[in-house]
């Protein structure tokens, strides 16, 4: 069923139609929340709260794609949560255990995995992915949210600016700084993305 039809039905109170939308967009919402908050349960809670908020305020969605609107809600919820954590830092043992489990497990990453990919290249890819996520977690939250929205979730600069309630120029400079910081971080880990490594080896030759 088309997204617009689902939205219309959901606006009339059809929870089943809304849950179809949840199924379509939950990976985006959860991935964003996970990379912002860095732990599974908190990310799942934040994403579900965002869906709940979206469901209750569906009539406020006007002239914008559902995904970008949803990501805006998730982004603000995550930034609020990070500010709250900064004010009252508390890391439970469960969180630590969950974090370690995340590092070891790639089960949740099977969505875009290429089935034709050999084990060696899959391992390299997995290492690079982990390094990128580690480096992402080192970025300041505002920069992280911006680069995730633009580069990972493919929002336009304007959409990202609306989502984060900042000026277009702010989005541009945050994205530039985030990409440069990620590049530096990956270089320090010896994990420059393949193209750059190729370029580097060409330069050596």
């Amino acid at each position: 069923m088309e997204e617009q039809t689902l939205l219309q039905d959901a606006r009339r109170g059809n929870l089943e139609a809304f849950n179809q939308l949840v199924l379509i967009h939950q990976n985006h919402a959860y991935s964003f929340a996970y990379r912002m908050l860095g732990e599974e349960e908190g990310a799942a809670d934040a994403a579900q709260q965002a869906f709940l908020s979206a469901y209750r305020h569906l009539n406020e969605l006007r002239g914008e794609s559902f995904r970008s609107w949803l990501l805006r809600i998730v982004a603000n919820a995550c930034l609020d949560e990070l500010r709250r954590r900064k004010r009252r830092p508390s890391v439970s043992l469960d969180d630590l255990a969950a974090g370690e489990e995340d590092d070891r497990s790639d089960e949740s990453l099977s969505i875009l995995a290429d089935p034709t990919e050999g084990p060696e290249s899959a391992a390299v890819r997995s290492d690079l992915r982990r390094s990128i996520e580690d480096c992402l977690s080192l970025l300041p939250p505002d920069q992280r949210a911006t680069v995730l929205l633009v580069d990972v979730h493919a929002l336009e600069y304007g959409e990202a600016a609306r989502a984060l309630r900042v000026a277009l120029g702010t989005v541009k400079s945050r994205v530039a700084r985030a990409r440069a910081d990620l590049r530096d971080c990956l270089r320090a880990k010896g994990e420059l993305p393949p193209q750059a490594r190729r370029l580097e080896s060409e330069a050596h030759a």
Partner: protein
Amino acid sequence: MNPPERLDPQLLEMLSAYLDGGLEGAEKAALEARLNKEENLRWQLAELRSVRDSLRTLPLRKPPRSLALTTALAGKSAGKPAVFSPRRMAFGSALASLAFVCVLSLDVLSRGAFLPAASAPRSLSANEAFSAPRQSSDTSGAGKSAATVAPASLPATETPSPAATPRIGTGSDNSIPTETLAETPTTSPMLGGGCGDCAATEEHAVNPPQVASLPFVATPQPQALPDFQTVAPYLEVLFALAALLLAAAAVFVRRRH
């Protein structure tokens, strides 16, 4: 080869925007000209592109559980804001402010009716209008029609009508300036208090030429005006309660959100 030198933030921003097709016209041409000449810049661009492409292919994660909403979780139908939604509470806050302003206004109006002469306006005002019926009831006890006697006996230039209220007559309010009392014509029915003034009142009542010679004759207000004074305190309390309730609800909702 060593890693490329760091770029200044402005150039970095331009390179990043160029990657996303965000540069146009002269700006784009200028950057492309530099890219043709400067190897370091080409290197920087290649690295940034590589980072961006890696981010773009970063796989999405599956949530550990379904994020679908259950009926219990959804609670109510879509699009219908909660009774105490922040938007409604914003409107409630505005109403609370309005109610507060109403309380203040009512308070000022009702207090104004008892203001001493010195602070009362010199022309006929609402204060005079409120005080007039009181005079009416008091003077009628003296067997005269106060509607014609009391207000008419007050010269418009020195209108001390609020001072003519029973409160002042009892002498309980000491805030009346002495000069005001001195200026106040002795013909005022209640200033002297007691029945000693009745004679003066009568004197004015039976002396129409003097009344006629006054430049301004205050017309007594309709009898409905005392009702306002009676109702005003209740209205004040009502508005104050409304303001309090709305403010409490707003605080409650803000905490929940």
